[in-house]
Amino acid sequence: MVKKPHELGGFAVSSRGPRAPVVEKPKTAEELARVLHQAAASGSAVVPVGGGRSSRMGGTPLRCDVELHTTHLDRVLEHSQADMVVSVEAGITLEALQEELGKAGQFLPLDPFNSPGHTIGGLLATGWSGPLRQRFGSARDYLIGIRVAMPDGHLASAGGRVVKNVSGYDLMKLHYGAMGSLGVIVAASFKVFPRPLHDVTLAISTGSMGEAWTAAEQALSMPLAPTALELFSDGHLLVRFGGSPDAVKRMVAELGWKQADASAWAEHSRTGLESWARIAVPRHALREILGTLPEKARWWASPGIGIAHWDFDNSSDAVVGVRHAAEKAHGTLVLMSAPTEVSKKIGAWGTPPETIGVMRRLKKAFDPEGTLNPGRFVV
């Protein structure tokens, strides 16, 4: 089992830039928008910072004059328990939000790695997800409203606080995973979920990777689909079933794996490494791609989703090879964190998509001066 918790919290992006940036920690969205606008107007480069848990993702910013922290924007704006909708400021941590929701027996099904300490804004900007994506999708699926500060100083909202909404363009999708390249997320609304009536974690250790993949497929094809399934490079598997008690009990009996403590998931989510990459491919191609990793490589995968994370140990040549294989399968290999020399050498993102021209025009429309995160994303 891959376990190498590495504290990246508090990592300052500025240490990668040539000179010390100004640190701004605005207390309101309006103030944040003003700071951003002033920076843009004076030609400064701005790097938005949330919890710093994903601050190594992407290319090294070419410049960083202002670090714009959302730390003080950490309020729950509204939690309507009956509607199962929550609106929060972007700087709230995932843990603080879960605590609020937990009081009502609700939760946000988001369990990113390198936890705890992620902010909601950071998670939306990076698009990180975790094992629960198997059942609930990613935040892209349950993000229902967003408010963003733009370099022109405006605050623009899209969506709303109802669970179903086609009023206007879905700009939530545009900012989700955009690495803060178009604006700084200052608030978001989510559809939240009731805690499953029954929630069971099972584990099994297999003798070979062949057996492990068979076990994964077996778990995925159970009549009640698992809420999460993780496969580790040592042949270990963790699976989770949630739902009505009788249904879950039947799955436990039929699968025959041993019951494990639910804390295994929290422990798993603490996994964060110095050098790790995310491989995302069509789900059926995942096994083959992981077969191209160096022998004894340490990784963990969500076989039902098509995502794996790899502790690549700074071997950039191997990364290039695997990226090539992933891209050939119409997938991607993205660096989650890597030493600067590695990310400079091989690039954080890989081959740009065919639609990069349209993406650049969008970037230009929202951030004409290139104020936000220059050099960090593909646009």
């Binding site: 704006l77 509204e78 009956a82 509607d83 199962m84 609106s87 400021e89 027996g105 698009g127 997800s129 999708g137 405006h154 605050l155 623009a156 909202s157 899209a158 606080r161 109802v162 669970v163 179903k164 909404n165 086609v166 009023s167 206007g168 363009y169 879905d170 700009l171 939530m172 999708k173 545009l174 989700y176 955009a178 390249s181 200052v186 979920f193 805690r195 009536l197 009640l224 739902g243 009505s244 008690p245 009788d246 249904a247 039947r250 491919v281 069509p282 059926h284 098509g306 995502i307 119409h330 993205v334 993102w349 740009p352 998509p353 065919e354 639609t355 349209v358 993406m359 429309a365 929202f366």
Partner: protein, 480 residues
């Protein structure tokens, strides 16, 4: 205004002369969708390939002619209406299911494939396509993707955007691109996510890759009667608050139930103030347990005369009543006007009582049949178009109902789209800055504004909103 002969000739060269319609009589068929307002296109083009779509759009771009992609024309917001004339790009001849991959559980379809047809074909593989608009017997997957359509089962399964994995699109310059695909977490901006639901204003869709789901082995469908629409609304909130998210949770009021019963004889209780149709699915153990829990909550909230479908035929009949409800309402008045505002679920009792009052004030019969679990209303204002001056009343009532929705913290549309008929209301929920950000995106995709012009954004040249000011509620403070 007819297109220049040379342009029509160009279009004929691209798709063949039998696939261009420009005679005044034939164009009438394409004048409207399922909403109220219509406008004639100058020509209708029926392409069969992506290349033809791209060539048509290139011609339109060259001559600055509006292009409006159109599927089955079942839309309820005027999205497919050629309000500024131009070319209706009718994609219903692009209707092949190109591939169903049972292992990856995906399907690749052309935009003209009918929603229900995909589920029917996939069913032999034990799979189905989840978004199920009530018009699913006719509406197309292309139209669904353009509008980000919903349906009763979206309560649990999510709307179209949650099921579209990728699309082949033609942009306003005629260039063809793939956006997203069956890989999770692609690199770059999520163009697919922005284009789904863009109502034909930023691209024409030529292929769609969708996710299919495993058909649940067990389904339980329950009909429950309630003394009033308010008690039924409270019951809906209570079900969700109990931590149960049913596959579907639909409500019909007395007016609807009576019309449906007269038409379908589905066994709906005609004495009830409202009925709920609740469905849970999964494996037998979970449907049994969840249905028992649903029954308990409904009973505790004044639900009575509960009846569970015992056979697939009974279930179909119950759903036929729900999905055919709007047609059945034709027994009361020949025409209808339908908004689909969404409120936070807990506001259903308030908004429904406002809807009732507004109907009474305008002396118009209103029937409610809607996705209660999502808070997605469908107040159906019924009228007879032959009655002079009636449209003014109908639109006035519709406007006030939407206003009530917005005042309760809701949104203008849950699944039908903004289109033509709700564009003027956009400033109720979005600030000028919000709208300007959306317009920036529009300009990136369509700088000359040839794709479905006059939709979504308020058009100052159209009639301005005049509210009678009947609803006394103040718009709630923005939540941020």
């Amino acid at each position: 205004m007819a297109l220049p002969i040379a342009v029509v000739e160009e279009l004929r060269r691209i798709v063949g002369s039998e696939s261009v319609i420009d005679s005044a009589n034939d164009l009438r068929i394409f004048e409207r969708d399922a909403s109220i307002e219509g406008a004639l296109p100058d020509a209708v083009v029926l392409p069969t390939t992506t290349e033809q779509v791209a060539e048509v759009i290139k011609v339109a771009a060259k001559h600055h002619i509006p292009v409006v992609p159109r599927g089955a024309g079942t839309g309820l917001s005027g999205g497919a209406v050629t309000i500024r004339g131009g070319i209706a790009l009718q994609v219903t001849r692009m209707r092949r299911i190109l591939e169903i991959d049972p292992v990856a559980q995906t399907a690749m379809v052309e935009p003209g494939v009918v929603n229900q047809e995909l589920s029917l074909v996939a069913s032999s593989l034990g799979l189905f396509y989840a978004p199920d608009p009530s018009s699913q017997k006719a509406c197309t997957i292309g139209g669904n993707a353009a509008e980000n359509s919903g349906g009763p089962h979206c309560l649990y399964y999510g709307v179209t955007t949650n099921h579209v994995l990728g699309m082949e699109v033609v942009l306003a310059d005629g260039s063809v691109h793939w956006v997203s695909g069956d890989t999770p977490d692609r690199v770059g901006l999520d163009l697919c996510g922005v284009l789904v639901g863009s109502e034909g204003t930023m691209c024409a869709i030529t292929k769609i890759k969708v996710r299919l789901l495993r058909t649940p082995p067990s389904v339980a469908t329950l009909l429950a009667a309630f003394p009033t629409i308010e008690t039924a609304s409270h019951a809906v909130s209570a079900v969700i608050a109990a931590g149960i998210v049913p596959a579907a949770l639909e409500m019909m009021d007395r007016v609807t139930v009576n019309a449906v019963e007269a038409h379908y004889h589905a066994g709906y209780p005609t004495d009830a103030g409202a009925v709920l149709l609740a469905e849970v699915d999964g494996i037998p153990e979970s449907t049994r347990e969840l249905m028992a829990a649903v029954r308990e909550v409904l009973a505790a909230n004044q639900g009575y005369a509960m009846r569970e479908a015992q056979t697939p035929a009974e279930r179909d009949l119950l759903w036929q009543g729900r999905k055919g409800a709007i047609g059945a309402l034709g027994r009361i008045r020949p025409n209808y006007y339908l908004h689909d505002g969404v409120v936070p679920r807990s506001r259903l009792p308030q908004v429904l009582s406002a809807v009732g009052e507004i109907g009474e004030h305008y002396k118009l019969p209103v029937a409610n049949v809607f996705h209660a679990g999502d808070g997605n209303l469908h107040p159906n204002i019924m009228f007879d178009l032959r009655e002079p001056g009636i449209m003014h009343q109908v639109e006035g009532a519709g406007e006030e109902m939407l206003r009530a929705v917005v005042e309760l913290g809701g949104a203008l549309s849950g699944e039908h789209g903004i289109g033509l008929e709700k564009s003027a209301f956009m400033p109720w929920i979005f600030s000028p800055e919000d709208l300007e950000a959306m317009e920036r995106v529009k300009r990136v995709f369509d700088v000359d504004g040839i794709l479905n012009p006059g939709k979504i954004f308020p058009d100052p040249s159209r009639k301005q909103i005049q509210l009678a000011g009947r609803t006394g509620l103040a718009i709630e403070a923005k939540w941020w």
